[in-house]
Symmetry: D2
Subunit: 302 residues, 4 copies
């Protein structure tokens, strides 16, 4: 998990000096000692700095055990800011969060450097399953993914939105398991890849999600229904033997469910496409009415 305070100096030169100090490997052990003292689980992993003139943004990242960890990292960061103030008395702390974190905002820094857990999930779907269950074929799926999820999102100016509907699944699991649903902005960043393998017969599908922010302790995870859901998934509470492994497993559950959701929706759209191509001169509005939900029904979107 990350948190990036913004501080201001009288000059860019001074901001650069703190940046150099923070990124010097020789100082890491000291910083980690200061950072780590307020939590049993929060352990500093690194600091990445960005500058805008005399303003410095310091993105601290730390492991957080089985917690999502925002408070943990905020406390550690406060420790470090207090510590730095002695050596950098001209440092003016503007805000404990300077938006380089970046929490609950769509930002490239999360897409590129990750936040929370970074997960890749993959599956091979055999040719016969594609045909009999998904009612389509590998080539149609691969083409649709390129035209919609890659090129379509590219022309839309997407940032991390190279998928069909990851947000639907992330939002649902987040609410069900007591996560912070406001974080699905970045937690649902996802690139979905579909590739033909085994001489074009079978389908390789994957979802890559760099910023899944989840925990199995703290916050909404303690509510009755949410706690029951975590229990059902086998990830309730803190993992005593291997701290953090419950939260990591939950992140993989999210990614796995997203993969299933992507496969399902993309196949439905591809099948619709094929069906319509085949029926080009033989459509009935009746058939259409079956594939589209009624006006006021809960929509099935993408």
């Amino acid at each position: 998990m990350t948190r990036a305070p913004a501080v201001r100096f009288p000059s860019a030169r001074r901001a650069a000096e703190l940046k150099a100090f923070l990124e010097d490997p020789a100082n890491f052990d000291t910083l980690a000692m200061v950072f780590n003292r307020s939590s049993r689980f929060g352990r500093l992993q690194g600091v990445k700095c960005a500058i805008a003139g005399r303003n410095l943004y310091m993105r601290f990242s730390c492991s957080t055990g089985d917690a999502m960890g925002m408070n943990m990292v905020s406390k550690g960061v406060q420790n470090v800011l207090d510590y730095l103030q002695a050596d950098f008395p001209d440092m003016d702390v503007i805000s404990i969060s300077g938006n380089f974190c970046s929490d609950k905002k769509s930002a490239a820094v999360n897409w590129i450097d990750g936040r929370g857990k970074s997960v890749v999930c993959e599956a091979v779907i055999k040719e016969e399953v594609v045909k009999k269950v998904l009612k389509t074929n590998v080539q149609a799926l691969v083409e649709l993914n390129v035209i919609k999820n890659l090129a379509g999102s590219a022309v839309a100016g997407a940032l991390g939105g190279f998928n069909a509907h990851a947000s639907n699944i992330v939002a649902a699991i987040f609410i069900a398991t007591g996560q912070d649903p406001a974080q699905n902005v970045e937690s649902s960043q996802c690139i979905t890849m579909l590739e033909a393998i085994n001489d074009g017969k079978d389908l390789h599908i994957s979802v890559t999600m760099p910023s899944i922010e989840v925990g199995t302790v703290g916050g909404g995870t303690q509510l009755a229904s949410q706690s029951a859901c975590l229990d059902l998934l086998g990830v309730k509470g803190a993992n005593r033997e291997s701290p953090g492994s419950n939260a990591r497993l939950l992140a993989t559950v999210v990614a796995g469910a997203v993969l299933a959701g992507e496969l399902s929706l993309i196949s439905a759209q591809a099948a619709g496409h094929l069906v319509k191509s085949h029926m080009k001169y033989n459509r009935s509005s009746k058939d259409m009415s079956k594939t589209l939900a009624e006006e006021t029904d809960k929509p099935k979107k993408c």
Copy 2:
């Protein structure tokens, strides 16, 4: 509300021909007639096209009464696709959604052209309120907003994320009123501006949110608790006299609440900043513990 199918032609030339047809004002009435026939409320407003080679993405936008309107627009789009197939028999419908819509993904097209309702909300906060209630001052607030919400988000590579925590408020209201929480990805796009006015004494604050996707009929709005919340806000169900005005009012409620949330959090961070500057050589860890929540408490994030 918008929906953008992706279609493919044998050549880019043919794709450009359909683009020219759709964007010709002379054809709008015909397209609208076809689009509108499946709904009492969905009324075509415009079509915007993007091309990637021989693939065409057509972003249809329509008014949707008091519904969020995804199904409405999807049905209208299907009508148009069926209609176009006759004149463009070489048009291959790849997907009813080609991601230029763009639903539940962070995309510049929503940030620039809007989706759902586009709302600007503003307020003037008097000097004495800033001092007595918010415990800070106008200059500190204005500077913090520039360094955090504008410059900080700029260095983070944000897309529509020029705010402190709009997503918190959007997610909360969406869940409470039966909206689709997966849509807070783009519904929480927001730029927060803080400016000194009246010779620097008072504060002008605004939030600009181009993509708030809400409805007061259909979907989760019919559930008991959610329906009660809508009733409490005075926007339950369809507005008979002025279709769409309930949904529009709900969107302004969202924006107004976001403005309050921005003011609150930014002030807290600015006050923390001032407090710490003042206490630079007189800090106590005890004071710090008051301003930071406990490790496992529900975090107050930004």
Copy 3:
């Protein structure tokens, strides 16, 4: 060509009123008359507004004959600002350019709405040419394009950079023909698509470039060498019979050259890939030295 001044009002409400005025079709003829009076060629095409609180950004777009047109549009915009001041006396003109234009900056608004000329260029490359001339095959080219130009750029957080090296060609032609080389930032925005057609035998390649900013009169086009280059391309000076067609033809020359450049580099990389796969256990550093230029040579980049 576009230009977007920024103006500020006392309130967002007032900013919205001007926005409504500018976007009302009933007012277009008046605005166009005011805008057009300072140039024989600059003709207003539309106005698109964006708001950030009480600040309004008005993106005027106009045709510009055979000129690139920045001065033309700036003068027209100044005319309109002067005109509006009478009816909106509380309008404070902050800057003739408010960066929503957006000139010489990487911005989604150009990628989505275009600036200058928007061009799509396509070609079909026969199977035998792919094999004999390009020394590779269709499938390898298509896969490389997906992995590099679509997915690779997506993970890099690209904005309009879904190509191999469009900027090389744009910069070269811009310098040779007297264009403004600072504008290649947005003029080189490009999505390159490679698709297998005719049952996978042949290759369909296209480049889509929405923001090529060129002119054949004014600026550097009058210099001797640059003027000679334009003459050589058959697009020198103003086209008397069909104003603007010389500039449009130049834009297509740019796109055509980019297509050739993309095909060349992607093929070279794909061939390298194949060669290396085939030579996996039989490489010689000598062979490598042939494919990579010497340390201080002009690099052939991508």
Copy 4:
């Protein structure tokens, strides 16, 4: 300088294994030894990986002495790919460049992680200079920068384009000193900050440019005119005593010139703003004609 090849594995699991291998500090010395053997100056600094399913993008960064360094890094990367092939025989090299580099494309990875030289340049402009020379005042400059360069670019969906016209200066110096003008796409990424200091009397201006790609040896630097320009700046050729310091100095020259250009243009726009406010009811088209260049003159853009 960076270069990021794209490789493909049979599975995401295998791609993740290579990622883990490359990012393990225990392997850095070996990788560096392999990378460095083809150049006297190219020294591996780090490897950063991104994944899209089973495709791995490895962004190698290295110091390059006084060269811009694209060939140097490409050769080092080829060395590493050859080396890795033995231990990862199922690695399929798709392309020596996978666009995560990212060369000559607008991409967040350069904006956030830098490419070439990262430079911050600052200056303090005294109150009297702002008034007498720049004909404006500090407050107007600060406000214009917020509304145009920060908020205006934010609403335009800018990526690294938070400036007025950095590209003008970068393109000019690049052409004059034999750099690669196609690289100004990312080399002109810049955030310009203007802040009031000393109780609001004086102006602090800074430009932050993370991706200036320059060299003083190789490529176009050897041409007569370009070589003379480098000589004039005191940065011609390789610096024997301190390799790389000539190129670094050239990068600071670029940033310094950009700062001057930003100050000049922003002041001109702010002064225009003030003048026009003051002359609101007393404008003459004659005055306007002085501030706007003639239709066919070389434009002074922003």
